[in-house]
Amino acid sequence: MTATGAAVAASTGLTDEERLLQETVRDFATRELAPGAGERDEAERFERPLFERMAQLGFTAAPFPEEAGGAGFSYRAWTLVMEEVAYADMAMAITLSVHILSQYPVFACGTEEQRRRWLGPMLTGEALGAFGLTEPHAGSDASAIRTRALRIGVAGSPQAYRVTGSKIWISNAPDAERYLVFATVDPDAGSAGITAFLVEKGMPGFRLGRKERKMGIKACPAAELIFEAMEVPAENRLGAEGEGYRIALSALGEGRISIAAACTGLAQAALDAAARHLTERRAFGGPLSEQQGLRFMLAEMAQKVAAARALTRAAAEAKDRGEPIGEAASLAKWTASDAAMSVTTDAVQLFGGSGYSRELPVERMMRDAKGAQIYEGTNQIHRLIVAEQVLKRAAEAR
């Protein structure tokens, strides 16, 4: 069940508090999340009471300092939470990850007043958060978003903004109360016009569009956001006009480490399930685990999980030290989501026909893995980010 004893054990190098955190989340996830995960996936149902229980235990406040109302854990500790939740239920891990993603910028760039007003209910999990960047015409090229924010009042200090446009694929959207929404105040300015807004459910002019019909993480519903001249008061603008793109990228840097951790947990779950199956299933006069070809597969799966975990922890530790994380986060997210896809696919293979059945969890794990190669920057985009850093260093070295 647990990852302890793995080549790069999940508990290696952790502080006492981090180990207790890991055990606590593992215990909770095993007992409360794992049993219903398959059923929630079939029903495409997000279970708010489960989210609330995680919030009561402080999962939603984990990586924020105590002064800000958080639990005071490091970002490395946050990756432990993600790993353990995703081990049991990837959809719930993504709900949680997006919730944190949508409040981190408020913590990092918000005014004192905004932090107080906005973060309180999100840290306690009374309000669920969503992150609204992607549009029908702008995914990878996020600087091309068209959702328009028109100033109302004096140009220099507008009283409010009138927002018109739409967002698609917004995770948590159907159940969320708070949305971090990116819109442009100047469509000709490209990324320099993008501005972040704090949007609440029920604001006049804001409604949900269609619900996405997804392949995986079905218990983490996503939907379209539609803004029809929605009026957002100026005090809900996060950061200055034009700062939105930087805010989005910085939030995604952290978010990608969180996604990488979730992918590591998902891959570990598939690896453990496959290893158990190979020991239990007998064919050709012995357990399948005696077949060298399958042992090689298992070893390669373990290799990918260990690499994913190592890069994820390295990125989180860089963040905890206050270093730039762009490249490390991209490497971690790309490696870990590819690991999750590959390991879950191999797990289905090792289970044979039963692996393809919806009676067992490995097919869900495989469907759940795919999205992570796409959201929070496709793995192609991560290659671009890494290449840019490599070339920058090469140019500097000359």
Binding site: E17, R19, L20, L21, T24, L57, G58, A71, G72, F73
Partner: protein
């Protein structure tokens, strides 16, 4: 009101092993004994409802710290860890003597302990400790209700037709069962707060014990042999719609005259 909860650190359930001299191997990872956690939960509820102060007491090797850390993270106010290499190998009577000595240095109205420990035991510690301390012994509690002023305690003990009510003046020793309720998970804030809570470590000398009075050499009981339980026979797994499955189970039980 002050409650001392006896919390044993046991090998992680499922990983128990015997040493070559037939003692429980405590060198691996230890965790809080499950049966004790029910009592800790009961104590923490009393802390919430009536402001009781909860202290943990354990006797065990250095690895017992993990169990204490979890108990503190769950909400206990402080902890006492009796640790000394000489203690290893002590039997039930010596454990009782050590616990009595440690409790002698603490102030309390109630002592809580679990019904058994998952790494094996003789079933004597709670009752013997009560006798040794001259405390009223209220066992197998399914509910614990101290008087508002802390001068007495009343418990319920389940019996085949309902429950008995037992009442005694404090200080008293209560042994309870899992009917008390599921233990809580430590909260993340609790884990962080536990860092600044006090854990006192007491040695044999602190308790006024000669090293020769405890440990295997001085034990009055010894394990002479140990055997694995026989392998379990093949299980019959019934996979069917609920109604049909129930029918088959009923028939199975009926053929064995178990219904």
């Amino acid at each position: 009101m002050r409650i001392v909860v006896l919390l044993k650190a046991v090998p992680v359930v499922g990983t128990e092993r015997l040493t070559s001299d037939l003692r429980t191997d405590r060198s691996g990872t230890l965790e809080a004994n499950g049966a004790d956690e029910y009592l800790l939960e009961a104590a923490l509820k009393l802390a919430e409802t009536s402001g009781a102060e909860v202290t943990l007491l354990t006797i065990g090797p250095a690895g017992a710290t993990e169990a204490l850390r979890k108990g503190l993270a769950m909400g206990a106010a402080s902890a006492v860890h009796v640790a000394d290499d000489q203690i290893s190998g002590s039997d039930g009577t010596q454990t009782v003597e050590l616990l009595a000595a440690a409790l002698g240095r603490l102030e309390y109205e109630l002592v809580f302990c679990g019904a058994d420990s998952s790494d094996g035991g003789g079933g004597v510690v709670p009752a013997a400790l009560a006798v040794r301390l001259g405390l009223p012994y209220l066992s197998y509690a399914s509910q614990i209700e101290p008087a508002p002023d802390g001068s007495s305690v009343r418990i319920r003990r389940l019996n085949p037709t309902g429950y008995d009510v037992l009442e005694a003046p404090t200080p008293a020793l209560v042994m309870g069962t899992q009917v008390l309720g599921e233990p809580r998970y430590p909260s993340l804030r609790g884990i962080m707060q536990a860092r600044s809570k006090q854990v006192q470590t007491w040695t044999l000398a602190d308790l006024g014990f000669e090293p020769s009075a405890v440990g295997a050499a001085a034990a009055r009981t010894a394990v002479v042999s140990a055997e694995r339980p026989p392998e379990r026979g093949g299980a019959t797994v019934i996979r069917d719609e609920p109604d049909a499955a129930v029918q088959q189970i009923v028939e199975f039980l009926a053929t064995r005259r178990l219904l």
